[in-house]
Symmetry: C2
Subunit: 254 residues, 2 copies
Amino acid sequence: MTPVDHPAPAASPASPPRARTVRERAREQITAEILTAARIRLTESGPGELSLRAVARDVGMVSSAVYRYFASRDELLTALLVLAYDELGAAVEQAEAAVTDRHDVVGRWRAAWLAVRGWAVAHPGDYALLYGSPVPGYAAPQVTVEPATRVIVVILGIVMDATAAGSRMPEPPGSGDDAPVVAGAIGFAQERGLMQAEAPTELVVRTLMGWTTVFGTISFELFGHLVGSVSRADDYFEIVIDRLAADLGLTEAD
Amino acid sequence: MTPVDHPAPAASPASPPRARTVRERAREQITAEILTAARIRLTESGPGELSLRAVARDVGMVSSAVYRYFASRDELLTALLVLAYDELGAAVEQAEAAVTDRHDVVGRWRAAWLAVRGWAVAHPGDYALLYGSPVPGYAAPQVTVEPATRVIVVILGIVMDATAAGSRMPEPPGSGDDAPVVAGAIGFAQERGLMQAEAPTELVVRTLMGWTTVFGTISFELFGHLVGSVSRADDYFEIVIDRLAADLGLTEAD
DNA sequence: CGAGAAACAAGAGCAGTGCTCTCATTTGTT
DNA sequence: AACAAATGAGAGCACTGCTCTTGTTTCTCG
């Protein structure tokens, strides 16, 4: 809570952009070193067991010195959370943007989700931090919310592009007034201009389902629940995202 | 590894079933007390942060005394794992068996999955232990495998009953030879007599997908990823399992 | 340039952890 | 009654997050 004696976080208003002092640059570098070491530790230690002292030893400092950079272990976790969310989001955005044929919504869908799995497999510790069990007693602060939405924003963009292009989806089984249940998701998409007002509720439901299915699949793979059932997880993953694309009415490019 | 000095776990062969001594009964009771206290602690502490000393205090013992009952914290975790898997499995089996009309596969499907979510919401700590991020450095031993399969066995039974009764599923999008990927799941089902040899691969794929989707949905709900998108998680859950039933070709009872 | 302030690193220390060891006590068997 | 096994308690080791104090380095400003 008490931020010890951090440096002035931002210059006071109407002050010219001063040149970065040696101290400021050193501080950024050491902060980055701590974060890097913490991420490495996270791969084999889990968020709750992350030892701040071990991280300190890795960067050649004494534990109390780390508290100059992060007021608590929770603050370190928050920084790691933001870092990982942003890295994952950037990877997905980049992979999806690399699909040159923007009408190929299936290709974009596959590229985005394959990037998610690729990042998760490459960074299982960070993935567990983001999508595994939350650390008890730790509530992710507001700064983590926006980075956390980057993946679903990309996915929603693909689905809405497909709908605008005329994709059609099978009708829902029951005639239901499901809109109130997913009103939050609808509002989220509309606020970001991703969704026209007439987008059907069922499309939102299916997109949410696809979202949870993909992350559920990755979690099951990384957490060991597919052992014995699925031989090659990468092939299975492609099967899954293809079925989900079909369920959403995404059609191959023509 | 060294099991300290546990009592003789099983009577030697060809010995009559001796009456349980006071000690044996006391041991079972204290073991149960420790497990109960540990489960309570687990709700607000997470598996990795579970304090054996705190559990000991809760049952009025000193920490070293607990080691008479569990050789290590990992062994305690294993016992908790088996306990939770069995409790969840029993709840699902019971709820599914309570559907008197055995031809109502949709009803059985809904009953089973609603029991899973009900148990998960009632025991979030145990759910995180089972389906959250694994405790780093802890490998679940063999004894946990069988209890862990009870839910999917129930689900497979429903799907296979429906198929035997003539349910049909939409064709898969791509013509693929996906059988090798899910060969493990096919073998699993066949070994337990749940699956006739001619069950289509696509049905297995869709069952696996439904399985991961449901647990992905529950995990997203309990781990906070649906906040903002879904207002009433219980309603959303029912929407999801209805869509999954439709995707599997499960039809309403007639 | 040189003084004062700010930032920093190191160490000691506190309360907590998992786990081991020793020792006294209780219980069951012969 | 005698002996062995099982049990509980306590001290102790190495570790943890975190705080506080002390000495040093770096920046800023008169």
